[in-house]
Amino acid sequence: MINFQYVRASSIADAVSLLADSPTAKFVAGGTNLIDLMKMDVEQPSKLIDISRLELDKVEDAAEGGLRIGALVRNSDLAYHPAVEARYPVLSSAIRAGASQQLRNMASTGGNLLQRTRCAYFYDTALPCNKRTPGSGCGARQGHNRMHAILGTSDACIATHPSDMCVALLLLEAKVHVTGPNGARTIPLDEFHRLPGDMPQRDTNLDPGEIIIAVEVPRAGFASNYTYLKIRDRLSYAFALISVAAGLELADGRIKTARLALGGVAHKPWRDPRAEAALTGQAAEETAFRQAADILLRDARGFGDNDFKIELARRAIVRALTQAARGTPQSQSNKKIA
């Protein structure tokens, strides 16, 4: 790890000002991803601006029945927050499916959004990676790509976004409140993370100098008919091969509203309005679920090692929608798939 200067921000304005003064500085909150990347020399900030003591650690009711989650709320506190467990159980479930309790005790809400891919080529500074070193090439495309993306890839990058929490936040149509040198703004979560295109070094549409203040979820929580189904190489404490968050509103066995978000498949949490529209008005049965999966995966492509993920995603979507329709969400402790 290269050396760096350490400073502690005393307020949000102070944090923004400190970053404006040092464009090569980075904010640190939980540190679970950044410190690791610094040990690997993937990240080499000149300065660490510690924002972990700012008072952004509240979970509060928001306008119109929503919930506002401070950027520094720890993942474990959020997962077990009574309002989240009762009103947004898909969010609670997704958080519990990620990392370990130790890491969830450290990791912040904002940091979860900003975590980097776990692509091995990104982590190894001896290997090419357009995300880490733009223009150096993508080692994964013709390399070991079992964990990699099947949707929204580009010639430059086939990495996935590793978060579970963000998949549930996308399903819930969360908004990200940020502020920066040019003032405050709100970014829908779907527009927060980017596809790689020819600039895979940019994970998000956060502007340089901006800081995440809070994440807000609107009222609709799909608390009756939801699931978070995560498929991985071991039953706990592993990144997703495929994960599916599903939320349904049902009326007389028919689907009034459908939400479907996938993790482990793309450079961002993945949602497809066409797949959801195809479910609307249909009987909540396997035929409709299969159609939705086919639509969502219509442009999916594999890169060799990860070809299996397309069929795995298809089956996981059908299974997740079945779990949601039956009101039998996947348990995150008893791993038998319901």
Binding site: N3, V7, G31, I35, D36, L48, D50, Q101, Q332, S333
Partner: protein, 169 residues
């Protein structure tokens, strides 16, 4: 959030050391450290508390688990300077007045370790798991202990030890 020392700028230039005040197992320490020092390295290299183990040093194995202001964390992935003012409990701080912590005794009773390298992290993690109160069944214990890897595979007995200690608390 825990009340700690007032926010302050002041680590100086990149080559300088930073001052860190920490309470570890009830004893207060004032140290001057390279800002790169992880909490784990502070414990092992500066305070000679070598119970917490450095397994992977990347937050993947759990051998460095300690209680930070009462919550279990992996001490390899936080900088000591970030924890200025905090209170840390390591495996060395669990026994009281010459008596083992009930979970330490349970690990002996159930032979819940083989090589022992992961044990300090397992025990700290298990103590926190019991305090958190989220795990009731063996499945839930296994899930909430999944951040602690045991390469010898003593998991069955680790779960049994935690169940015993849970019954006593």
């Amino acid at each position: 959030m825990q009340q700690r020392s007032q926010p302050a700028h002041g680590a100086g230039s990149a080559s300088s050391t930073v001052s860190v005040n920490l309470t570890v197992n009830g004893t207060r320490h004032s140290l001057s450290l390279d800002p790169r020092t992880s909490l784990l390295d502070l414990l092992r290299e500066h305070l000679d508390l070598t119970g917490s183990k450095k397994g992977c040093d990347h937050g993947q194995c759990g051998a460095c688990t300690v209680l930070l202001d009462g919550r279990r964390v992996v001490s390899c992935l936080t900088l000591a300077v970030m924890q200025d003012g905090a209170s840390v409990t390591t495996v060395e701080g669990l026994a009281k007045d010459g008596h083992l912590h009930p979970l330490q005794q349970a690990f002996i009773d159930h032979d819940a370790f083989q090589c022992g390298y992961c044990t300090p992290g397992q025990i700290c993690s298990g103590v926190a798991l019991i305090a958190e109160g989220h795990a009731k069944t063996a499945d839930e214990i296994r899930e909430l202990m999944s951040g602690n890897i045991c390469r010898c595979g003593a998991y069955t007995n680790i779960v049994a030890a935690i169940q015993q200690a849970m019954g006593q608390s």
